[in-house]
């Protein structure tokens, strides 16, 4: 067949094919259209996809959906960078929303150098494991076992173990995801707004001498903090000082000043804490002997 016919045929054929496909697609689009909001994907792209749950939703995609139907505020994602959240806010035409930064705080100050070790644990190097074996080797059965499950679990590397085997939270980085709260077998972590500056770093329920026999920075329930601070801010429950954060406004440093052990502490904005001046000075650097 001649070249021209061939050209004609092919061009015609293609045109036909193109139109055919187009019609099919048109019909398809009319008949079989299922709408889903494309913004979900777009926002999800803008989220860190850490799926940590710090925002309070199961993961990043549900959070994105929540953002669109307004059940969440962009700033609730504590992992994302500020300006990123800003972009999302503008994109959705909602306001950023701002909630106070929360951080994880450890209710134990009994490092190796001040807390008495009753038995040497030999086995899996995890707090969970140790806690299951007669509660672990530590004299204070409420205290931190210092094997760093929390350090491991923190996806953001906000926790590092110090030389005395106590986890230290870097409040800059902490996103209050709460993983460490869940993982700690002794339930020593609590999530607090940074404005909660007064804090009792102990959970031991014993009192007096037998308490002090176990740890030098233990709360002995001597009640000084409760007496010194404004009415009702602190009261002693089960031999332990408990702060009523409802009255957080009236909290102040005076509460910690006469604490003999330094079990109650005052956090500054940067996240490092101070003990009262009457607190027994700990000069020991090395760990206490076992047994």
């Amino acid at each position: 067949m001649t070249e021209l016919t061939s050209i004609a045929i092919s061009v015609g054929f293609m045109a036909g094919l193109g139109l055919l496909l187009a019609t099919v697609l048109v019909i398809a689009n009319k008949r079989l259209f299922v709408y889903e909001d494309p913004r979900i994907d777009e926002i999800e792209d803008l989220l860190p996809s850490a799926n940590c749950g710090a925002c309070g939703s199961p993961g990043c995609r549900p959070f994105a959906e929540g953002l669109i139907d307004g059940s969440y505020e962009p700033a609730q994602c504590t992992v994302n960078s500020k300006d990123m959240n800003k972009i999302i806010a503008d994109y959705l035409g909602v306001d950023l929303g701002n909630r106070e930064k929360r951080v994880a705080r450890l209710a134990c100050a009994g490092g190796k150098h001040v807390a008495y070790i009753r038995a040497s644990y030999d086995g899996m190097d995890t707090c969970r494991g140790a806690a299951l074996v007669s509660g672990g080797g530590k004299g204070c059965t409420w205290g931190c076992l210092g094997m760093g499950d929390c350090e491991v679990v923190c996806e953001f590397d906000a926790i590092s173990m110090n030389r005395y085997g106590l986890p230290v939270v870097d409040e800059e980085i902490c996103t209050a995801c709460g993983d460490c709260v869940d993982v700690c077998p002794k339930k020593l972590f609590e999530l607090h707004p940074v404005s909660h500056q007064l804090f009792v770093a102990c959970k031991n329920l014993e009192k007096g001498d037998e308490a002090e026999a176990e740890c030098e920075v233990i709360c002995t329930a001597c009640e000084r903090c409760a007496v010194d601070s404004p009415e009702g801010l602190i009261e002693i429950k089960e031999n332990l000082a408990v702060i009523d954060y409802g009255k957080n406004r009236i909290s102040s440093r005076v509460a910690i000043e006469r604490c003999p052990t330094g079990a109650i502490v005052w956090f500054d904005k940067k996240g490092n804490y101070a003990v009262g001046k009457d607190a027994r000075k700990v000069i020991r650097k090395e760990a206490l002997p076992v047994g």
Partner: protein
């Protein structure tokens, strides 16, 4: 009282069976030594050199990668020695040493260290090493030399000492000069495949045939395997499964047409099947966990081996069969999870 030492606390159970990994591995090495000795007796210093080279390369590679990925050096657990020995046993006696070294390196690097070392490898390292060189140097790995050559303890097989990365010399004239009567350079399996002549079972058992160092003496291998099985250091179910699978497929074929299809006993005792079943399929790391899975795995290897040998392009299939089975192991496991004590019927369905 008790105050001499501080109290110690441990988790239960406080008793422990004596058997430990390094013990198992050490015994496997013991079980392999007689086989190595026999192959040296058969093929002379070439075999010896081969064994040493592979083993040493494996050890060096292992230590190197442990150092790279700062893991504790895991040479002490002997598993890498096993890898080296088994690798050597699967290679032709005249295999150039430099190629053997390549095989050893690949076996550990690709087969083991890549995945994190002992226990994490998904396929049998030794066989990965062999499969690699078989694909890389198909000619060298299919050129066989006769056993019991006079003066084998004094001189190397010429191809053994090939210059690294260079082609080995052709051994055929060396074989002629050695005047081994009617040695065709073909393994019993090759002969079977291409000329339909089955070697005599007795020869296979005693190993007076061509073949790789470890595949020519079924009887010794079998005995050494039994030793492991009795020491409960190797799972007898795997070799049993392999043998079962082999017979299962080859017997009907044989009965159907004895002319072209080899006999089951030939299938069992020829080639690497015995070594493969006893020492390589039985590598627990690559094999399934569940009881039924283990049987399935063994049988599958047997069947696949026969299939490849009879219908495939290659005349030996054990290696590939085991590798494929390793790859299938996770799936076998997941479909053969054991029914647990007191499991209710409806749970079994769901």
């Amino acid at each position: 009282m008790l105050k001499k030492a501080p109290i110690e606390i441990r988790t239960s159970p406080h008793l422990k069976k004596a058997l430990s990994v390094e013990q198992i591995m050490r015994n496997v090495v013991y079980a392999l030594l007689p086989i190595c000795a026999w192959s040296v007796y058969q093929f002379g210093i070439s075999a010896l050199a081969l064994i040493l080279v592979t083993t040493i390369t494996c050890i060096l590679t292992e230590s190197f990668f442990c150092w790279m990925s700062d893991r504790p050096n895991s040479v002490k657990d002997y598993s890498v020695v096993i890898t080296g020995l088994l690798l050597a046993l699967t290679l032709p006696p005249g295999f150039p040493l430099w190629m053997a070294a390549v095989a050893g390196f690949i076996a550990i690097a690709l087969g083991k260290s890549l995945f994190g070392g002992l226990g994490f490898n998904v396929m049998n390292p030794a066989l990965i090493g062999r499969a690699f060189v078989q694909a890389a140097f198909p000619v060298a790995i299919t050129t066989w030399t006769p056993s019991f050559v006079p003066g084998r303890f004094l001189e190397f097989i010429p191809s053994t000492l090939a210059v690294p990365f260079m082609t080995p010399v052709d051994t055929s004239d060396w074989v002629k000069e050695k005047a081994i009567d009617g040695f065709t350079g073909a393994t019993p399996l090759a002969l079977q495949k291409f000329e339909q002549v089955s070697a005599d079972t007795m020869d296979l058992l005693t190993g007076s045939v061509a073949g790789s160092a470890g595949e020519t003496s079924a009887i010794i291998i079998f005995i050494c395997g039994l030793y492991l099985a009795f020491r409960k250091m190797m799972d007898w179910r795997i070799p049993a499964g392999v043998f079962a699978g082999t017979v299962l497929l080859s017997l009907p074929l044989y009965l159907y047409n004895p002319e072209i299809y080899p006999s089951p006993q030939f299938m069992l005792f020829s080639g690497g099947l015995m070594l493969g079943a006893m020492f390589m399929a039985s590598d627990m790391v690559g094999s399934p966990l569940t009881p039924r899975g283990i049987w399935l795995y063994g049988a599958f290897i047997g069947v696949l081996t026969v299939t490849i040998r009879i219908f495939g392009g290659l005349n030996e299939g054990v290696m590939y069969a085991i590798l494929v089975a390793n790859a299938l192991a996770p799936m076998i496991d997941s479909i053969t999870q054991p029914r647990i004590y007191g499991e209710r019927k409806e749970e079994v369905e769901s």
